[in-house]
Symmetry: C2
Subunit: 342 residues, 2 copies
Amino acid sequence: MPDPPLLLAARRRPTPFTPVWLMRQAGRYLPEYRALRARHAFLELAKTPQTAAEVTLQPVERLGVDAAILFADILLIVEPLGVGLEFAKGEGPVIHRPVRSEADVARLAPVDVASAVGFVFETVRLVKRALPLRVPLIGFAGAPFTVASYVVEGGPSRDYLATKRLMREAPNAWHRLMTLLADATAAYLNGQIAAGAAVVQLFDSWVGALAPDDYRAFVLPHTRAVIAALTPGTPVIHFGTGTAGLLPLLREAGGDVIGLDWRVDLDAGWRAVGEDVGVQGNLDPVALLSPPETFEPAVRSILRRAAGRPGHIFNLGHGVLESTPVEHVKALVDMVHELSAR
Amino acid sequence: MPDPPLLLAARRRPTPFTPVWLMRQAGRYLPEYRALRARHAFLELAKTPQTAAEVTLQPVERLGVDAAILFADILLIVEPLGVGLEFAKGEGPVIHRPVRSEADVARLAPVDVASAVGFVFETVRLVKRALPLRVPLIGFAGAPFTVASYVVEGGPSRDYLATKRLMREAPNAWHRLMTLLADATAAYLNGQIAAGAAVVQLFDSWVGALAPDDYRAFVLPHTRAVIAALTPGTPVIHFGTGTAGLLPLLREAGGDVIGLDWRVDLDAGWRAVGEDVGVQGNLDPVALLSPPETFEPAVRSILRRAAGRPGHIFNLGHGVLESTPVEHVKALVDMVHELSAR
């Protein structure tokens, strides 16, 4: 049996069609997910291997995607730091004791990854056993900057004022925090790989808030340390949004495949990261709210810009939006397969 | 007397130092502005030429900037459309009757610019009379996309779901709305120029939310129409944020100077728009929250990337944040003048 198309593409080998999966393909737009969430709190779902595996598997058959993505949250790894993580109803994550100073960083508890997030590794094992062979499982973690931004701001942010102030006003504290997160993240991803993840994605979702010089000084060394510490042989997807001006630096930090959001033409983005890595993307998630005939031109444009060159994994530029009709998502997956069949 | 440095730079002529002004230099971070706002509602301030002129002039002497920017709001032009514009306390603008369909667009009242925003032209005349000769006045308007996004969403937005759906699902309605806004905007800016604005800036602040293909199809023709209709001889600054992947298209739409936010290196951004136009930018506004010694390296980096080439206007990548200490802003202006003196 040949390697699954997603693994071939991640290694820039030819594939019979362009493989496709969607960020947040397991999530709130799916009625079967909402049914589970009606009975279980978010953290309970994520921390119970049986339910987390069920959520991971829900979209795979229904959509015909070429990969499963682990159901988890990028902040699970910060819970053991003792910062008071809570998933407040309808408000997203809240961190009750944000880290804003040298002293705050010194107080952080060390993370024993095996005991802190062992339930994630168990979920990976359950999913791996249940998946068809042609569908690899993608493990993931938040990249140090994006995770640090929640830890410093205390939740989601628009302008990252506290995060950027910590960088500039207490650079030693910042680098200690980032080093601690990078170490935990590498161990976390290696644990997922050991348990059966065939690919891992590093989500630096909010890194596009930074000036390139700040990325270079305050982020790049830490992201590079995570990627360099990963078990060799497992492809790494390095993803961010709003990164059109940062792409050469993301590539410098590492990854076999660089994620492109929708705010850059796929061919321009691929040139910016270099054609000796793969790219993933890059349809605007909002496109899926409208009927398939309205997003078909954008899908064709993305495939045309990829020019049939090995190394393209089709995806949205960010996660599926909650109000997306399931049938539009299914239509997208079929459309990518049909239009790219070689 | 030679032309003011800002005008020279806008025409890519050599200047004795790099001219600098700041978006939102007249605004909430200034105690004298907050004192006025304590006595007057926002719209009352903006609509009364005496107070609007006072606010426009407040930062000029205090900071030593090289331009004044008209105190107004990009949504003043939509009030006469009859969409129910309100500046709700602490919430930003609210539009009570958002435009979401062909029928909604058909219902819009035509805008008689001279009578609808005559108070703005009077403000321009008052400011022009009060300003020293070395300080030109910059007039401004919102670009059609950014103004349309408020009109369609009903206020500020994160994902622009309704705006993007209108584009894709009712393209005729979208183009009619954009044509109407483009016509009003050109007349509005020409009125400001006739009253004494020496430069105008078109704010397409939120256009960075779009994929390049969508910009090309749904926005570029309308922005180009505005710029092409402006009184010849007045330099035009064309500004947006999050536009690193859109820069060649912004330039194609027009403008003598293209605004760069902080998320792209100034030299890379200048290459992307072409060295036969000027650039404005591009310090991260958050940098000004920390002491001057922490932002000096970033200021030096921006000036180094501009390489002394005529056509650079120093600015932030977006507006001054409310929590910015005034003395940091003053230090920035002095720093730019000193470090760039030729």
